[in-house]
Amino acid sequence: MMKTGAQILWECLEHEGVTHVFGYPGGAILPAYDALKYSKIHHVLVRHEQGATHMADGYARASGRVGVAVATSGPGATNMVTGIATAMLDSSPIVCITGQVGSKLIGSDAFQETDITGITLPITKHNYLVTRADELAQTMREAFYVASSAAPARSSWISPRMRNSPRASSTGKLRNRSCQGIVLIFLRLPRNMKRRWS
């Protein structure tokens, strides 16, 4: 059976035991919302993406389970920054999922494009830019594992830029947080979801 990346996304969340997500839709994340109707997950519609991240954070702190927030690319993603940093500083496990512009448009200052992986580098435990639907399931599993466990990020996951991050320089050593923390997944979900998933 052929599945779209969007369908895989919700199935992965269900597989992780997620029952609620907090989010706000937009253009780049719209394919994911389109597939939401096939999922049992309850989506809480927020009024601002910062609120979605705080809700995921509150969910995680109150229950010990991973909180999930969803937003679109660009402003949706940047509105999450304060909430991500809040959760990071208090070691609260959340996974944030945002859209991203099509891979051919990345770096072109496309509409609602921002380098959110770069922006969030020092305030996440790890982040991913997923550009292929067949990488999604593995990435989601890793993301939830990294967010909810005390395992340090694998060295191969750490991008060279992290070595220059403010946190790394302030402590004089590579910041390889091994407490619960934040994982961001940035999805590029093209409008025509024709990728095969076997």
Binding site: H20, F22, V44, L45, V46, R47, H48, Q50, G51, A52, H54, M55, A56, D57, G58, Y59, A60, R61, A62, S63, G64, R65, G67, T82, G83, A85, T86, M88, L89, D90, S91, A150, T171, K173, R175, N176, R177, S178, C179, Q180
Partner: protein, 372 residues
Amino acid sequence: MIHSSKRPVILLGHGAIVSGAIREVRDLAERAGIPVALTLLGLGALPASHPLNLGMMGMHGEAWVNHTIQEADLLIALGMRFDDRVTGNLKTYAPNAKKIHVEIDPCEINKNVKVDVALVGDLREVLHAMLPKIESIDRSDWLDLIDRLKGDSAVRDIQNLPDSGHLYAAHVINDLWRQARGSNTVVVTDVGQHQMWEAQYYKHEEPRSLITSGGLGTMGFALPAAIGVKVARPEAEVWVVVGDGGFQMTMCELATIVQENLKINIAIINNGFLGMVRQWQEFFYERNYQATPLLNPDFAKVAGAYGIQNATVTQRSQVVPAVQSARQHDGPVLINFQVEQEDTVYPMVAAGAALHEMIRRPSPIVETAADE
């Protein structure tokens, strides 16, 4: 090291809650007779009513808690990270104490405070390994000394001031605690004066019963975070304790509460100021209140616009009835507590000052004289 210590203190942080080491921490404290000071995020990790629980340490910790840390000969730091709000000036921090640090993140070891022993690992697992080796030791001399360190703190407590007709945030929060305690209640606070009063006057008995932004100190956190709390634990009674400034940063989420039909109680501690910033201006900037007085909407009307039950409280006698009415209502409720405008969080360790150099609440006599 623990056995030879005469004046040990456990510094307990958020890690105890995250790792689920609640019972292990209690066993350690009880078996070895060691008093426990908590960080803001550690509150609830040891019941507030526990005889060995000293309370919160740090910038707005009770005076005797900070004095105890400064007098100690051994600090046992469990799942905490020696944040600057907890240590004050590092050069004068617990000068005579050896330090043991149990922490899951190796980057935190020796980052702020140089320690003598570092144990990197999950707190629960480390304590499991440690506990069989802990001997029962009588430390009543040390606990008696801590009792004496309390000195006149109780007399200075705002709770003990005669009712002067003023509505103080401390009264609101303490009354709220008296009403809501014992039940499955979670308090979600924002950042600022009300957050510190909550930490001081709401006695948390359970882990995960206080949700607050500690490290980043994010205003606007409380209202949306409470939504997440209620979704995760629908059976819990959820109270938002939030200032008038922080509430306005994310009050758009009132609509989310209504749309999701969530029973959340909101207590706005409304003093018409960015209170904590005003307090800093009062102490350190010669009362130059630049950009801290707030023009606020009528919060009760704002709630009403969303169809949320609301009340405004200006007198202490109205606090308990308003809280009771909110608890009985089966939908969301917002209460606008119009409290004393220029109230101050005491005690306070100024940023960068030594932990024992606190600005104390003026003694009651001085306060009465000022009132007249």
